[in-house]
Structure formats: structure tokens, C-alpha cells
């Protein structure tokens, strides 16, 4: 609380901005980044193994295929936990709005892309890109909303 008062008198650096974040947001930041880091690491490891002749079959193939998706589920769960833990209702409101923009953005993209696939020779949109694009739209919306309400 006291940190926030002191920070108002001088230009804000990243560390000062960080000190103003709510405890719930800090927890979300670490959980979310942990999940996304796991997703990236798992994706790269599996791609590397696949390129080097690792082609499991049966149950193992299913487990290996689902591994990166579990990291995405963890990232989504971290967002849900943030919403339930955040006590600052306005911050919660901004986060929900950014999620809605993310959902809207990915629905528009996949709908338009789907029709383009039918009527043109555009490349196939793999569903594994759904979450990364949702995240991109949500992140842009989150940034704009925070900038507008700075």
C-alpha cells in the first residue's frame, strides 16, 4: 500500500508498475507464464523428437499428443483462478472484457478463414492455432484496455 503512494511522484519503471499489481495478478503472472513456458518447451521437445525419428504408437502416441494441450489447459485454469482470486473488481472487469475480445477475435478469424478455405486455395488453418490466436487477441485487448484506463 505504501509503495503505491511513493510511486506516484516519479516516473514509473517496470519494477514500480510491478509493485502496484495486486497479489492475485502476481500469482496469475507466475502461473500463466509457467504454463506457457511449459507449452513452448513441450512443443519444441516433441517437434525435435519427431524430426529425429520418435513416432510413438497407441496409448503413448495419445499421451504425447495431449501433453502440450495440458499446458494450455493449465494456462486457461490460471485465468479462471485469477478471476476468482482478484479482489479489485475493476481489474476483474478489464480482464473479463479482454477475454471477450479474445473469444470474439478467434471466432471471427476461424469463421472467415473457414469460408476462405471453402471458396479459395488458402492454406488450412490447424485447430492447434486456436489458443495462440485467442491469446494474441486477448493480449492486444488487455493492453488497449489498460492503456485506456491508465
Amino acid at each position: 500500500m505504501k509503495e503505491r503512494k511513493l510511486n506516484m511522484s516519479c516516473p514509473q519503471g517496470w519494477s514500480q508498475q510491478w509493485s502496484q499489481k495486486t497479489p492475485a495478478f502476481r500469482r496469475y503472472f507466475f502461473r500463466f507464464n509457467g504454463a506457457i513456458s511449459s507449452f513452448v518447451a513441450l512443443s519444441f521437445v516433441l517437434a525435435y523428437l519427431s524430426l529425429h525419428g520418435f513416432h510413438p504408437r497407441g496409448t503413448l502416441a495419445c499421451i504425447v499428443a495431449v501433453l502440450p494441450a495440458t499446458a494450455i489447459v493449465a494456462a486457461l485454469v490460471s485465468g479462471g483462478m485469477y478471476l476468482s482470486e482478484e479482489t479489485d473488481e475493476f481489474q476483474r472487469h478489464l480482464f473479463v472484457q479482454s477475454i471477450l475480445w479474445g473469444v470474439g477475435g478467434i471466432m471471427v478469424l476461424t469463421s472467415v478463414w473457414g469460408y476462405l478455405q471453402i471458396y479459395t486455395q488458402i492454406i488450412h488453418f490447424s485447430t492447434i492455432w486456436t489458443y495462440p490466436f485467442f491469446l494474441l487477441f486477448q493480449a492486444i485487448a488487455w493492453g488497449v484496455l489498460r492503456w485506456r484506463n491508465r
Binding site: R4, K5, Q20, T22, E89, F90
Partner: protein
């Protein structure tokens, strides 16, 4: 919805950050409420009213 938050805060010579600390919300929340971009929930409106020792109706108004 209009409110007198900025006036009440100015009377006490509090910054937005000071008020945010007292309400245990972010400074952005105070700014959004003051500028009418965001209407607080009933529990937060009660906290604001209690802090300024006033009624909710005396601070918030749905008419000009």
C-alpha cells in the same frame, strides 16, 4: 452514472492513490469510477460511502 467522488476526494486533499489505498482497490479503479467509465458494485459503493461518512445516494446519482 454521475458521482461526487472527485469533489469529496479533493476536499480531503487525497490523491487518487490515497483513496485507492483506503478503499483497497487500484488507482485505475478510482480513476475509472471518478470519470464515470465504471460503475462500482454495491459492496464497493457501500465502502466508498462509509469512507466519506455519507450515503450512497449523496455520492452517486443516476440523474444530472
Amino acid at each position: 452514472m454521475k458521482n461526487r467522488l472527485r469533489v469529496l476526494r479533493a476536499e480531503r486533499e487525497w490523491s487518487q492513490a490515497d483513496l485507492a489505498d483506503r478503499l483497497e482497490v487500484s488507482r485505475q479503479s478510482v480513476n475509472a469510477i471518478e470519470t464515470g467509465k465504471y460503475d462500482p458494485s454495491l459492496p464497493l459503493a457501500f465502502r466508498i460511502a462509509r469512507l466519506f461518512e455519507s450515503s450512497i445516494e449523496a455520492i452517486f446519482s443516476d440523474t444530472d
